[in-house]
Subunit: 182 residues, 4 copies
DNA sequence: CATGAATGAGCCTTCATTCAT
DNA sequence: AATGAATGAAGGCTCATTCAT
């Protein structure tokens, strides 16, 4: 319709529209035609870029998980509290956006339906958690793994229900203090 | 199949069947006729006991939240680590059941759709968390609230992905130690 | 439930309730359970007194036609304008009631579905009309039959939309004058 | 069956099919899938052109009323008996078709359900009737209005039960003579 | 690439009817 | 007689998906 709509731009616009619509209605109550409307394209076009609605769901779901935050903090080679700070900041930045926040919830509930999502969540909860634990506490230990779960869980709690009386930085700082107090 | 069964029994049977089916398919991909089949009743009967599928969803969703665990531990008058142990045990017991575990995920994603669920989750994340924090740390403090979020978050993480190498009791004990280390 | 509910009383109460409900919703959009509620009886009881909903519909439909008015005027042996006055008064009395008025419309539309109603309407429009025409004009004539149709049609028009500026008596009197002016 | 037909053609074909089916079964006993079959389209397509079955019902119902006949005769500027002849011919032509005849009955019974139909019938029975009366009798009078109701009512009676021994032209001619005899 | 008419499966829900109590 | 739980067929409608244009 407009010249600058190059292929990737349109696909991206569809994904972004889908994120907004999915976050409001959930993956299965969001009709494709609403996504098309939100993206300003025709319904048919969505099926040109995505084989099926499920493919779009999975694309969106993947983007709503915090995997890339953890990966980038791991790659940056940080250790100790630093890596926790990195992850904490990343979470706060990403999930400040209510669309992402709501999407995260919807995505978690997909786990029982799509293997692809289940695997991502597995990786997140097992390997990544262990990796980060080692980086923080030096070596693998039960206590370290438990602490990391408390860390991730704590972040998630904060994200889902941002308490008005605790600012982001305060929360992250306190959380890190608590779980590294061991 | 015809005739009178005891009223409450039938309703309960429908709810239990719905829990199983919802946990497998999610609330919106689970067709009512599957629930009926699972419960051994006719499709029509479900609408005799529930005005709509949504009413059934909400009934099931409410049951899958851990509110009653926290309430009962609060009511028992426990303090300090004791109340955390109570809650920890309660969580483990309830969510050992994979149906409940899966349902919890689905329920959390309902928050953006149903006020009733949003309110329950609000109460859980704000008031209840603060109440428990006071019971544990004596008085209201930022650090206490953060710690409690780490506690609940940690429990949730464990529930969602039960790591094979950390048994329930060990996890809860360690988690309590960590967050009360302040 | 109450002692004085003798058989015929209950049946009659159901019919009267059905008339009210049918007049509001139409025969096919009126659910049986609403009739039961309106009559203050259980849904099951309606099927004790009537083999099916259709039987109840036909019973109510028959009562809403003006057959018995015409019959009683014919039987009373009146002639000329007198019989028209008799019929006119009968119509006004019966269809002053908005329930009957609305029911008449619904009943007329049943004709294509139920033979029994079609027959009644046939009798009304053919034989009865001719009989009355003879009583009024002395002998059978085309003009007489046309006039009688104008009479019945005129009455029906008045009934369906009672114009505020023409009282019943005035209407009937004028109508009779017009069609006997031949 | 797949591909683009001309938009208005398809919609019109659905309406015509609906008229046939509604006339046979009545508006509420006619299932949408029968209309689809009759129109040679899929069930879904009906809901592409009409928001709901009700919308289709109202579209069909409007077409079955004689409003446009009266309007066109009024607009043609005719007076006296001429306008009655115009209307008479119009009625005969339109309701010679048994589908239209049956539909008229069904439509009249919709009045208590849909405002839109009630309004059309109001206009027909009040304003239009008065307008025609003035055209015929020169000025507004009670007698004129009564006569017009006798005219319209007479036409409707003839339509609903076409007596074999009175041909259309004869009926209309006689009817006009009778009601203008005043 | 892009559109939107067309399809058809499937879902939620209603409702007449039955029948154990 | 009377109740209301239970049934099952059927209906309206939504929606992912296809495909002619």
């Amino acid at each position: 319709m407009i010249g600058y709509k190059e292929k990737e731009l349109v696909k991206e616009r569809i994904i972004l529209a889908a994120m907004r619509v999915f976050s409001r209605y959930g993956f299965f109550k969001a009709p494709v035609h609403l996504i098309a409307k939100e993206a300003g394209v025709s319904k048919g076009l969505i099926f040109w870029y995505f084989r099926s609605k499920q493919e779009l769901i999975i694309e969106v779901a993947k983007r709503s998980l915090p995997l890339e935050i953890i990966d980038s903090c791991l790659e940056s080679g940080l250790n100790g509290k630093k890596i926790l700070e990195c992850i904490g900041k990343g979470y706060m930045k990403k999930y400040k956006n209510p669309v992402q926040r709501s999407l995260l919830l919807h995505t978690m509930s997909l786990e029982s339906l799509y293997k692809e999502i289940a695997e991502k969540m597995n990786s997140l909860c097992e390997e990544k958690t262990s990796e980060v634990a080692e980086r923080v506490f030096g070596k693998s230990s039960i206590k370290g793994k438990v602490a990391l779960r408390a860390f991730f869980g704590g972040l998630m709690c904060y994200i889902l229900r941002r308490p008005k009386d605790i600012p982001e930085e305060t929360f992250v700082k306190n959380l890190i203090d608590i779980i590294t107090c061991i």
